[in-house]
């Protein structure tokens, strides 16, 4: 095999457009991290390591033929459920929430696994019953969604449970859940909002209240929202310039390498920078939709659609939270925020998209 053949073989299952979009976002991530970390290389270098590992997994998944992918749906889901129950029973408590499972060698956060596991399981289920879909099937699929959600919401991890709810809902929606049911559910949800409000944890309610009047708790929970809004707003049209964000460098911004990294970016690059970033996200999401529309089987269509829509939701929720239109729920900015776990989950998803795109010819025949 010549070197060229080898190279062709390596990139055979990589979707170039998707990779381009992801790559630009990742470069942006390193750029912003350097500034957010007060011009230190510590976090950017760690992030490079996270990225390399996650890209390797993405490549691996992209090279997996679809029939392998679909076969893993059930085991991943079952494993995830077992781990979630494990967390509920034996999990470590950190910051008042029980999210981590200590396996002796390492600690894991099983809810991350379910971000992929839940939509996969549902898509698999729909594919199995493709020919004879009735309302009952939608009900069962919804049940597959609700069980892990209940466990994760209990931990409590509002951010993750909302995102998994979204990803599962997208599967139901794309699988053709009738509009009548969707509308009924929406009305029911609005009607039951007061009840749900009561079920939320004190701190979660607090965060939602902060949206309406952040100055009420200016030292505590409202602090994040106030300072982030100041950062974004003072950025203006062209921004304060790279490494010149005063909010960032005078220590006003909390969690500025993770959940609030968008405030750093926005302060330094302004509205123009925001448009560029939104453009990059839109490009990646657009490519995701294209891949979805090409997808050849029921399973891959549902999966690709759900991954794409969920990715868009992530980005929206984070930017919405930083700019003060959504409560602070602890969702990182996809592909930009510092952290290895969410990076891995996201790139695994993109690996699936690539696999769906590049293996379809084999399945079609």
């Amino acid at each position: 095999m010549t070197r060229r053949q080898l190279w062709m073989r390596i990139i055979a299952h990589i979707d170039r457009q998707l990779l381009l979009g992801i790559g630009l976002l990742l470069l942006t991530s390193l750029l912003v991290l350097y500034s957010a970390d007060n011009a230190s290389w510590d976090r950017p270098l760690n992030q490079v390591r996270n990225i390399v590992v996650a890209l390797a997994f993405m490549w691996l998944i992209a090279n997996l033929p679809l029939h392998y992918l679909i076969r893993t749906a059930m085991p991943i889901y079952v494993l995830g459920m077992i781990l979630l129950i494990g967390v509920a029973l034996f999990g470590d408590i950190s910051h008042g929430a029980r999210r981590w499972l200590n396996l002796g060698v390492t600690t894991i956060q099983p809810s991350e696994l379910m971000k992929i596991g839940v939509p996969m399981m549902m898509a698999w289920y729909f594919e199995k019953h493709e020919a004879t879909l009735t309302l009952k099937n939608y009900f069962v699929a919804a049940l597959l969604l609700v069980m892990p959600i209940a466990l994760i919401a209990r931990q409590p991890d509002l951010g993750t449970s909302l995102l998994i709810t979204a990803s599962g809902f997208y599967v139901l929606f794309l699988a053709g859940l009738s509009w009548r049911v969707i509308i009924t559910l929406t009305v029911a949800a609005l009607a039951s909002a007061p009840v749900l409000w009561k079920m939320l944890h004190e701190y979660q309610r607090h965060r939602i209240m902060m949206l309406f009047d952040p100055s009420q708790d200016a030292l505590g929970n409202g602090y994040h929202t106030i300072q982030a809004s100041i950062a974004v707003g003072s950025g203006g049209i062209i921004g304060k310039g790279y490494l010149n964000g005063t909010q960032t460098h005078l220590d006003f911004l909390p969690e500025r390498t993770t959940d609030f990294i968008f405030a750093v970016y926005s302060e330094e690059f302004g509205l123009i920078g925001n448009l560029f970033l939104l453009g990059l996200y839109a490009f990646v999401v657009w490519r995701g939709f294209i891949i979805t529309s090409h997808a050849s089987t029921y399973f891959t269509r549902l999966m690709a659609g759900s991954i794409t829509l969920t990715f868009a939701t992530y980005a929206f929720v984070n930017m919405g939270m930083v700019s003060g239109i959504l409560p602070v729920v602890g969702v990182p900015l996809p592909l930009i925020s510092y952290g290895g776990t969410s990076m891995l989950t996201l790139l695994l998803g993109f690996g699936m998209l690539m696999s769906i795109e590049t293996h379809k010819k084999l399945v079609k025949t």
Binding site: S94, H95, G96, E130, A131, Y170, F173, L174, G176, Y203, D217, A218, L219, G220, Y223, S229, I230, A231, V232, G233, S234, G235, G236, I237, T246, Q247, D251, S266, G270, L271, N274, L275, L278, A282, V285, F289, T292, S293, T297, R301, G305, T308, L309, A312, T313, F316, M319, G320, S323, G324, I325
Partner: protein, 633 residues
């Protein structure tokens, strides 16, 4: 494998899916539009507003640190207070050469070597944006001198601050503890407990003692002031303010005069003293000797002084009363006697013959009585009065370790007493189960023999022994021991009393109690082991002496205090309560390496009792009187 699906259906299905996909794209477009509108609003429409906030007129939120709560003794004597004073602080971000700044500064105000050392330590532990204290407690003259020259020192600021002060110093060090600068571990702990917001602006936190245990009460609630500041950082206008709420005042059950007398009575001995009101569980005196001056700890003690304290052979930093674990020695005998009566192992009038040595049946190993030649014919009363070892060797063997462990645990041995001070140790009440777990060895009959006289594996803390003595003094009805009597809130003037409900009642038969209590009174009467403890006292003292071995004697070897290194000499114990008929105070005295309980520990106890019951300090007994009075064990 794909299922056979009709071609037409498949086509339709794809069509429907694409329809849904288009709705999805529409949905994402809406989200995108919402964000765009929001960014436009924040960054174009309201840009000026946020620009102002961020730069020229930044609203800064200034936390107002509340005054820390006071700590008072039961009579209102102040044990921990705040006073205002000036500090000189260096802002690290505003200077590049800290060393030069300090040198220049030392020409204006006195900066000692200790100050420099402490500052270096702070610098090493600090974050780069923190302001650090270089000098505390400036005199008015120094303040004036610096103020005139301030323009030369852009990085140095004078701040008025409240200082914590412990007027009784070493005398209450193990009780009150001290506060100190909040470290990284404490920061993450505060975040974990969701208290970080309330500690914004706070530099200090309770590190040990009551300052630590009652941190939640003492700290208070931080206030907030929102001020507009100009570009130079000067406050222009106050926007809003919520006042801080001072920390709660702790009123202790401690009588600090009593504490001082107890402390002085120890002379040069190391040790511990705990006095409890048996009727309420209130701790009246809580001494661990030697103490240390807690004041230098507040702003970070310099390394040299710290090393001296930490490496001293006297271990002044160890809270002996709460954490020191010693064999109880003969002070366990009254409790052993009650165990014997409880399980009907021995009748009160039953006598044994004490030849001065005890053998386990079928064994040649000697267990010696402290008095060579023994005490002759001894019943339970006399065994307590004269502290006859042989009697209790036999009693322990007959009871068996399971019964001993069971009964002694009712008095709280082997468990924390639940005193409201963090860091208590639980001592050791040995049992078969414990030995198997700890040493993977079975329990030998010989182990039980030593436990009978409070040696062997047994360990107690002075606090535990005091609790058990108070319970005995109160006829088996125990009250939870506590140092804080009342927590007073400055805002609501609500006072929270610490519970005085009985903890448990051991329901010991009156005749059992009567025997043991009479025997304990006899201990301080002629014929007992602590005669002079009650010499000339107008009230009756019930007591028991004890000696805790520091080094184990080999078979056939005889202990001779003069031959043994001072630090390896036996520890002296004395437990007591008085007046014996209606006890108002129960106490335990431990004098480390003090030799015999009767000779060293009992006189200390007597002084404390005299002050508490009669309100006077008796003139100290002379050496000759002590010798004449005799007393042993």
């Amino acid at each position: 494998m794909m299922k056979p699906v009709e071609f037409k259906n498949h086509q339709r299905e794809i069509f429907h899916f694409h329809l849904r996909l288009v709705v999805g794209i529409g949905f994402v477009s809406v989200l995108l539009a919402i964000l765009l509108m929001r960014f436009f609003y924040l960054q174009v429409v309201r840009h000026n507003y946020y620009q102002t906030l961020s730069e020229s007129n930044r609203i800064s939120i200034v936390p107002i640190v509340p005054n820390r709560g006071l700590i008072l003794d039961r009579n209102g004597e102040v044990l921990a207070r705040n006073y205002s004073g000036y500090t000189l602080e260096i802002n690290q971000t505003k200077t590049t050469d800290i060393e030069a700044t300090v040198n220049e500064l030392s020409k204006l105000v006195e900066i000692t070597n200790k100050d420099r050392k402490r500052f270096k330590k702070l610098l090493a532990e600090s974050h780069s944006f923190e302001t650090l204290v270089i000098r505390n407690r400036l005199s008015d003259e120094e303040v004036a001198r610096f103020a005139a020259q301030q323009y030369r020192f852009p990085a140095v600021e004078i701040k008025a601050r409240l200082f914590r002060d412990y007027p009784f110093g070493a005398k209450t060090s193990h009780l009150i503890g001290y506060i100190g600068r909040i470290n990284d571990t404490e920061v993450s702990q505060l975040e974990e407990d969701d208290l970080a917001a309330n500690y914004r602006g706070s530099d200090y936190i309770g590190k040990t003692g009551l300052e630590q245990s009652y941190e939640g009460d003492l700290h208070g609630t931080t206030g907030i002031e929102q001020v507009e500041v100009d570009a130079g950082g000067r406050a222009v206008r106050m926007v809003s303010r919520s006042a801080p709420v001072s920390g709660n005042t702790l009123v202790l059950s401690i009588d600090v005069k009593l504490q001082e007398i107890a402390e002085q009575s120890f002379g040069n001995y190391r040790g511990a003293l705990v006095a409890i009101d048996p009727n309420t569980g209130e701790v009246l005196a809580f001494v661990s000797k030697p103490g240390y001056d807690p004041n230098p700890f507040i702003d970070g003690i310099d390394t040299q002084s710290w090393d001296e304290l930490n490496n001293s052979p006297d271990v002044p930093l160890n809270n002996r009363a709460l954490r020191g674990q010693y064999p109880p020695g003969s002070t366990i005998k009254p409790f052993m006697a009650l165990a014997g009566l409880n399980f009907h192992t021995r009748k009160p009038e039953q006598t044994i013959n004490d030849p001065g040595v005890y053998y386990l049946p079928g064994s040649s190993r000697q267990y010696r009585d402290w008095r060579a030649g023994g005490h002759g014919s001894v019943n339970m009363f006399k065994a307590i009065q004269m502290s006859c070892d042989t009697y209790f060797y036999g009693l322990a063997t007959e009871l068996g370790i399971d019964n001993i462990a069971n009964f002694l645990s009712r008095f709280g041995f082997g468990q924390k007493t639940g005193l409201d001070l963090e860091g208590e140790t639980s001592g050791l009440l040995p049992s078969q189960e414990w030995k198997t777990k700890r040493y993977q060895q079975i329990w030998y009959p010989g182990d039980t023999v030593s436990v009978g006289i409070g040696q062997g594996y047994s360990l107690v803390t002075p606090m535990q022994l005091a609790f058990a003595t108070a319970t005995l003094a109160n006829n088996g009805v125990a009250y939870k021991p506590h140092l804080v009597k009342e927590v007073q809130s400055p805002r609501s003037s609500e006072n929270r009393s610490i519970a005085t409900e009985p903890l448990f009642n051991l329901n010991i038969p009156a005749k059992d109690l009567d025997l043991v209590r009479r025997a304990m009174v006899a201990v301080t009467q002629p014929g007992g082991t602590a005669v002079y403890a009650s010499l000339g006292a107008p009230y009756h003292i019930a007591g028991k002496t004890g000696t805790a071995q520091v080094v184990a004697m080999k078979q056939g070897e005889k202990y001779d205090a003069k031959k043994v290194d001072e630090r390896l000499r036996d520890h002296a114990w004395f437990i007591a309560y008085a007046p014996a008929e209606k006890p108002q105070i129960a106490l335990v005295v431990l004098a480390e390496n003090g030799g015999h309980g009767g000779g060293t520990a009992a006189p200390i106890a007597r002084k404390v009792l005299d002050y508490y019951l009669l309100g006077k300090v008796p003139k100290p007994l002379t050496e000759a009187e002590v010798r004449k009075a005799g007393g042993n064990d």
